[in-house]
């Protein structure tokens, strides 16, 4: 007998549910098999490669990411979630309008096979949002990017172009760092 729970959530701004799903269902299964949102990719299935990382926006606890492969619908019930399908905007003609992070990944040729890209987009997005609230010194950017993204495994790229892209976004977006090197280079 398959035990069920009633699940509802806000996913990419859309109300989902209430729907009856197995109580031990993992988020990645819900997204892929019930909602046909397959951009959240399953790779290790044990929460350690971060390909499936999605964003949870919790008014009380703040924004954080979880590995959708090992986080159950039981935890996400009633919560607000963003997946890769909800990151880009729309240009008014039905075409995607990439976010700053997505645009940087494109221009840096950051990804190859792209299996891990949605996870990188989501973690980098949360990092940028954190820096909007609490900026860091420009000389700490490399360390902070590494701390935030080291949990993501990529087998194609050697990470360099992802990291350079995120660093570029952080350094070129006003307000994310204390001392913007572009400003520093100006003559006094």
């Amino acid at each position: 007998m398959i035990e069920k729970i009633s699940f509802s959530a806000t996913i990419n701004g859309q109300k989902v549910g209430p729907m009856d799903v197995p109580q031990d269902l993992m988020m990645v299964e819900l997204l892929q098999e019930y909602l046909n949102l397959t951009g959240t990719r399953l790779s290790c299935g044990q929460g350690m490669c971060s390909a499936c990382r999605v964003i949870v926006d919790d008014p009380a606890k703040g924004t954080y990411t979880v590995a959708a492969c090992v986080t159950g619908v039981a935890w996400l019930n009633g919560k607000t979630v963003r997946t890769i399908e909800g990151i880009a905007g729309e240009d008014g003609q039905g075409a995607p309008l990439p976010s700053a992070i997505q645009q940087a990944f494109l221009e840096h040729f950051s990804f190859q096979c792209s299996y891990c890209t949605p996870g990188f987009v989501n973690s980098a997005t949360v990092l940028v949002e954190q820096l909007e609230r609490s900026p860091i010194a420009a000389d700490r950017v490399e360390d902070v990017v590494l701390e935030s993204l080291d949990k993501h495994i990529c087998r194609c790229t050697g990470y360099v172009r992802y990291y350079q892209a995120v660093k570029d976004v952080i350094l070129s977006t006003p307000g994310l760092t204390h001392e913007n090197p572009v400003v520093l280079e100006r003559p006094a």
Partner: protein, 902 residues
């Protein structure tokens, strides 16, 4: 098939400039691009309801398998369909080329040849029961009934070969003996092992005699020379494609139509092998539609058996589409691995540091099924010379079966294992004879026109010497002693090491075939069909750009990974390596015959071989379609129009700002040319086939009165919408008219013995710290030099380089799979236990890469995605030796292995 999200975004190429990958927008927004993203409801014409399949793999190979006990699933969760060996035998569904791919399922009553062999496949028609059942079956070894202890079946070695060469006095002159001039030794093998021929063997005796002579001379080198012999081991590696083996199939028993969405680097052979799988079956197969998603593999998805499991599962879906996707544990359990090798290498060096002779004897572990083991072995050992000229060499290899998971053709194809260890030996010799390690390399480097260990002359100018010259002047190298002292004073307890290695890696397979079709629409849009499939490396971006110099812009519309080529009605036995010369001469008389139809996406082959095909198609479209139209426009008018005063030749054609120009003629847009060609019913499309056997096949054609010779071996053309009835009647081959070649020049079959002639050189310097306590290695920085001809897209080249290095670091320091009963075939392996390098472990902020400028405007692009991962492996080992004073001979050089000796 679903409308691909790739191609809907035109923003990738704008303002005459590549802005991002063609598949970039689809990929960065998480669109459905992989086969694993597809569900039945995404596919046009498929039923929405989808079933789910699960393979069951035996975790051991030391007991008789008696059958399954699925009582744990009773009563509700038992599979709706269970397929096993008996069921397939009944329906006569067989694994195509079972010697190569293995059997679908182990029959009860036998010991499995390997850990992880499938024994059955279950299908559940709804997801919730499927997932509940899967949970009960996962890690549950009680579902397999085993009998008594017994040995796995005995098998003969998968392959063995010996390459013996004795050069003449001039490295560029005639050889005394070599595979190219004479032959490769292919010994007999049986269950007792390899039977190396005796000296009096009628076919191979002479080579074996030379081999013995080289060996004994190396054992007793002449006065002043020394022989250094070392034994190395390279481990088993999982390529770890992030997308697991998967696929989706739908078989409609009423219509007999089988649709398969697969994930493979070799879609063309997969499709053909599915037909073979069904050839004897009692289940009707009327039509097959095999497509592959964008995928990734590093060789793991090249000629793997998995697509056949998908197709087979589909047959039993009771009319429902069936999805079969391994989870990561199963992917470790069943997907192809990189061959472990035991390598004994010896080098004889004279007192000046000049290499006199080399021998290398490699024993590979091919795992449970043959797959590409024989050729991985020969490619590995023929690469062992690395970047050096060897006056004499005796190179032998054998690849043996084992109970491990099947080894396939992972990135490097065996050459990583051989070249990295040669680079370690050369580094050690430099130490032993007191010579600068790059100086020693420079002294022995193979130069243009010199022969490789097969006796073949590599293609073009060899530029590894240029790289060595740059590297030896690099401050990292020249100041290494000071840097070591300074670092160790600053970081007490951590040892600094700098290591270097240089290699050159072949690309291609010696039988590279490609098909490309290019045409212009009446509106002037450029449409392409191509065999290339996307595996992440960017071929579908670069191949579109290749048309630009010839046609003024990249292709506007494209269909990649094309399996159906009615416009190229060729025939082939697909035996390009084994057909004797006489027979090939006979066969090639038939203009429809080619040695092979197409090659998989592998062997770093797109940049060179596919580019050649795309270029030829573009050039022929220009020559046969656009140029005549241009001449007609320029020549229009009573007295020959504007062109009469100018002596126009085809060579004058060039593109400026998207317009065709020639001397002082009026610039013409593609739109105008296309309109004219279609109106007049002249040629508007070409489809070409190419073949390379370490040289390009050329053929002569006569098309519309024009005779020409081109480096292609088959051609079809299409006339425009205004074509006359006679021409329209000729276009019977998928809307094209096949143009039989009048003469063909296939490279002689003896060139198969060349092993390779196309090389891309690469070298890496790496500096690292070794913690004396834990033995932990920290990469401080690395610097790589690469030569790859003309870069089509420099960003893609650099991305391959960075990614290859990370993978090489994993091989050198972290990744390791046991080959015994604790290996991944037992189903308990995942990234938790298998250490993939993370960003913090690859010097993500401190690495640099440099690409040499091309030699000429037409310097062809070289395949480089494999070579870049190799020098870092040897360089890491050499750096650790520099840091610790201890030489390691076994990969990975893990912290615990270092800790043991410190």
């Amino acid at each position: 098939m679903v409308a691909s999200p790739v191609g809907q975004d035109p923003g990738w190429f704008a303002g005459g400039r590549l802005r991002y990958r063609r598949d970039g927008m689809a990929k960065v927004t998480g669109s459905k691009v992989f086969a694993i993203d597809m569900r039945a409801r995404d596919l046009d014409g498929w039923p929405d309801h989808q079933s789910h399949a699960l393979t069951l793999h035996v975790p051991r190979a030391d007991r008789v398998y008696l059958g399954l006990d699925l009582s744990v699933l009773e009563p509700d969760l038992a599979p709706d369909v269970l397929i096993d060996a008996e069921r397939l035998a009944k329906d006569k569904v067989t694994m195509p080329d079972a010697d190569f791919y293995g059997d679908f399922f182990l029959e009860p009553g036998n010991v499995s040849p390997m850990l992880g062999q499938p024994v059955a496949l279950g299908i559940w028609h709804d997801y919730e029961r499927f997932r509940a059942a899967r949970k009960l079956l996962q890690f549950n070894n009680d579902i397999f009934r085993f009998g008594e202890q017994a040995d796995p079946p005995k098998r003969a070695p998968y392959g063995a070969a010996r390459f013996v060469r004795i050069g003449g006095d001039d490295p560029r002159g005639a050889d005394r003996f070599s595979p190219m001039k004479d032959y490769v030794v292919w010994p007999d093998t049986d269950e007792s092992g390899v039977q190396w021929p005796a000296h009096d063997h009628p076919a191979f005796g002479a080579a074996m005699g030379h081999s013995s002579d080289i060996q004994s001379e190396m054992e007793n080198p002449p006065e002043g020379s020394r022989t250094f012999a070392r034994e190395y081991r390279s481990q088993s590696i999982d390529p770890c494609a992030m997308e697991m083996e998967n696929g989706l199939g739908w078989y409609d028993p009423d219509s007999g139509r089988l649709n398969v969405v697969g994930a493979t680097q070799s879609p063309y052979s997969a499709a053909h092998h599915i037909l073979e799988m069904m050839s004897a079956s009692t289940l009707p197969l009327k039509a097959l539609d095999f497509v592959t998603g964008y995928t990734v593999g590093y060789g793991q998805k090249e000629h793997q058996s998995f697509p056949y499991y998908v197709a087979m599962a589909a047959l039993y879906g009771d009319g429902n589409p069936v999805r079969l996707a391994l989870d990561r544990w199963q992917h470790f359990q069943f997907a192809l691995k990189r061959h472990p090798f035991d390598i004994r290498t010896a080098l004889t060096v004279d007192k000046d540091g000049q290499f006199q002779a080399m021998s290398c004897d490699m024993t590979g572990d091919g795992g449970g099924v043959m797959n590409f083991s024989p050729s991985v072995g020969t490619v590995a050992v023929t690469a062992a010379q690395s970047v050096y000229y060897m006056p004499k060499s005796d190179m032998s290899v054998q690849v043996l079966p084992s109970i491990g998971v099947t080894s396939g053709s992972m990135r490097g194809y065996g050459t990583l294992q051989s070249m990295a260890t040669t680079e370690m030996l050369v580094d050690e010799i430099a130490d032993e004879i007191g010579m600068d390690a790059i100086e020693l390399r420079r002294k022995n480097v193979i130069q243009s026109g010199m022969k490789n260990t097969q006796g073949a002359v590599p293609s073009g100018h060899l530029r590894i010497g240029e790289i060595l010259d740059i590297a030896r002047q690099d401050p990292l190298w020249t100041e290494r002693a000071d840097r070591k002292a300074a670092y160790e004073a600053e970081n007490p307890g951590t040892l600094y090491g700098l290591g270097f290695a240089s290699v050159q890696k072949d690309f291609g397979t010696g039988a590279e075939a490609a098909v490309v079709r290019l045409e212009i629409t009446p509106e002037g849009r450029l449409k392409m069909r191509h065999v290339a499939a996307e595996i992440g490396a960017g071929a579908t971006t670069s191949q579109m750009l290749v048309t630009e110099p010839y046609l003024g812009r990249p292709a506007d519309e494209v269909e990649f990974s094309v399996q159906h080529w009615p416009e190229m009605p060729l025939k082939t036995e697909d035996q390009p390596y084994t057909t004797p010369q006489e027979e090939e001469d006979q066969l090639s008389q038939d203009p429809y015959w080619v040695p092979r139809f197409t090659s998989p996406r592998s062997a770093s082959n797109s940049a060179y071989y596919f580019t050649h095909a795309t270029q030829q198609a573009a050039q022929l479209l220009l020559r046969l379609a656009l140029w005549p139209s241009a001449l007609a426009i320029w020549g229009a008018g009573p007295s020959g129009g504007q062109s009469t005063p100018e002596p126009l030749r085809f060579e004058d054609a060039e593109w400026r700002d998207g317009m065709l120009v020639a001397r002082s003629m009026e610039p013409l847009s593609l739109e105008r040319l296309a309109k004219r060609a279609h109106e007049k019913g002249s040629i508007t499309g070409v489809c070409i086939h190419t073949f390379n056997r370490w040289a390009w096949t050329e053929a002569e054609f006569e098309v519309e009165g024009q005779s020409f010779r081109a480096p292609i071996d088959a051609l079809s053309v299409k006339w425009g919408t205004g074509a006359d009835a006679a021409r329209k009647a000729q276009m019977t081959d998928g809307g094209y008219a096949f143009q039989p070649r009048t003469k063909v020049y296939y490279p002689p079959v003896q060139r198969n013995n060349a092993g390779t002639v196309y090389y891309a050189p690469c070298a890496t310097l790496v500096e690292l710290g070794v913690a004396t306590g834990s033995g932990k290695v920290t990469i401080l920085s690395h610097k790589t030099w690469l030569e790859c001809g003309t870069q089509i897209v420099p960003e893609l080249v650099s991305g391959q380089l960075q990614g290859g290095i990370a993978m090489g670091i994993g091989h050198a320091l972290y990744e390791d799979l046991p080959t015994d009963a604790d290996g991944p075939g037992n189903g308990t392996w995942n990234y938790s236990r298998y250490h993939l390098p993370r960003a913090s472990e690859v010097g993500v902020w401190t690495q640099t890469g440099h690409v040499l400028p091309p030699l000429s405007g037409e310097d062809p692009p070289k395949g480089m995605a494999e070579v870049v991962m190799i020098p870092i492996v040897g360089a890491c080992a050499n750096a650790i030796a520099h840091a610790t004073g201890h030489r390691f001979y076994s990969f990975p050089i893990s912290a615990s292995r270092i800790q043991e000796v410190l």
